[in-house]
């Protein structure tokens, strides 16, 4: 499995660097998007998975669910940081500044804060069961706030961020080659995420 993932990753990287055409107005900078979009997608996926595992924990009270929830949140934090940094670099190169409180930046910043608060809460509680329970509650509570952060706040601020891939009219504004390679990149990064998650499960570090 590991070698398959390595080969797949190499193919994806090759495609991103050699097959993606130059985008109109962006040139080679468009290649950052092939890193940024999958990473941002995974950070949201990790957040949802963490909340789901938290829900499982509250129902069944099995500590392995809590371990998965916190592993997922930990990986989510890493991917969220990568998405923030790659997004900021892209913003600097195209719009001239690393950070301008664009709605998307507000959302991802709040997501980072939530992850940070989650781990601050975990590290300040000694007992494993209590920690698992309270962390699960916080995870679900912040998950309920997520739709507002993602869908409501961006409506009220002017944004430079490109429309998400599937925009409101449902049409795809992308070259076919790009779209296929983007899908490859999405699958690849999601695969890497689950691989890391499984590796953590085999040797729980808590």
């Amino acid at each position: 499995m590991n070698s398959a993932l390595t080969i797949f990753t190499m193919i994806t990287v090759f495609c991103v660097f050699y097959l993606v055409p130059q985008a109109q107005g962006l040139g080679s900078l468009v290649r950052i998007a092939f890193f940024h979009i999958p990473v941002a997608w995974v950070s949201v996926l990790a957040f949802l998975l963490s909340a789901w595992k938290a829900c499982c924990y509250l129902r069944n009270r099995k500590l392995e669910d809590d371990v998965m929830s916190s592993r997922s949140a930990g990986l989510g934090l890493v991917f969220c940081l990568l998405a923030t940094i790659s997004g900021a670099v892209f913003a600097k190169l195209t719009w001239g500044s690393y950070w301008n409180w664009d709605p998307r930046q507000i959302t991802i910043f709040i997501l980072l804060l939530i992850y940070g608060a989650y781990f601050a809460l975990r590290s300040s509680i000694g007992e494993a069961e209590v920690r698992a329970r309270l962390a699960a509650v916080y995870s679900l509570f912040s998950c309920a706030a997520m739709p507002f952060l993602v869908f409501v706040i961006p409506r009220y601020y002017f944004s430079l961020h490109p429309e998400p891939i599937l925009n409101k009219s449902g049409s795809l504004q992308m070259d076919t080659t790009m779209l296929v390679i983007l899908c490859l990149a999405l699958i690849d990064v999601t695969w890497i995420f689950f691989k890391c998650l499984q590796a953590g499960k085999a040797a729980p570090d808590e």
Binding site: L121, S124, F141, S142, A145, F148, Y156
Partner: protein, 225 residues
């Protein structure tokens, strides 16, 4: 005291108990009001007689209110823990009446704080309010949201260490939507042009309701372990 009583009556009893405890010590309300007075005077003194834009004023107002709230609202469960009464409360009270009673208490405290802070703010910073009704509605919605979120999170931190700092850290991300909307709406209330700010206000109320619902679901897991 009647043992068999309805849910609403229990909520009422918890609220009355909180208010009586508070009346005896006047600790929470004192720290809230003094904290807000300190921050407000610091801001006002340093700004002097400069004329600020409505947006700037709204930001200052909500920052003062937010950090004052952080100073006083975590006490709602911590004080039960430190005085050792939490076990009695656990033995007699169900989760839901306690959550709603404490929420109402925090809500009352926040409204008192706003009533204290708002006139002083308007006087000190020479602010004109053009849409008073909107401003009061925003305060109501913002206070509801802050009270809901801080009540649940205050119950999370009673078993943690370094409670004061942790409380602010875990509250901030969830209060940020409330804060952003409140600042936007307050800016509208401070500007002379007529506004059509119904939609953000609606979102604010919806956010409050969602948070209230989810706290009610999750509080059972905190209270009964």
């Amino acid at each position: 005291m009647r043992i068999m009583s309805s849910g609403f009556h229990k909520v009422y009893l918890i609220l009355i108990k909180e208010l009586q405890t508070e009346y005896r010590s006047r600790e929470a309300i004192g720290s809230l009001l003094l904290f807000s007075l300190t921050t407000l005077s610091a801001v006002s003194m340093t700004i002097g007689s400069q004329v600020l834009s409505p947006r700037f004023l709204a930001v200052l107002f909500w920052i003062v209110l937010f950090f004052s709230a952080m100073a006083g609202l975590s006490r709602v469960f911590l004080q039960e823990q430190s005085s050792g009464t939490i076990y009695t409360l656990r033995a007699y009270g169900g989760a839901q009446p306690i959550l709603f009673g404490k929420f109402l208490y925090n809500f009352v405290l926040l409204n008192l704080l706003s009533l204290f802070l708002l006139p002083l703010f308007l006087a000190f910073l020479n602010t004109d309010v053009y849409h008073l009704k909107l401003l009061l509605l925003v305060l109501l919605a913002g206070n509801t949201g802050m009270a809901v979120i801080t009540t649940l999170l205050a119950s999370l931190i009673i078993q943690a260490q370094s409670q004061g700092a942790l409380f602010t850290i875990i509250s901030f991300p969830l209060l940020l939507p409330v804060l952003l909307f409140c600042i936007q709406l307050t800016t509208a209330a401070f500007t002379p042009e007529p506004t059509a700010a119904m939609q953000p206000l609606l979102f604010l109320f919806v956010y409050d309701l969602v948070m209230l619902g989810i706290s009610s679901v999750l509080f059972d897991y905190i209270w009964y372990d």
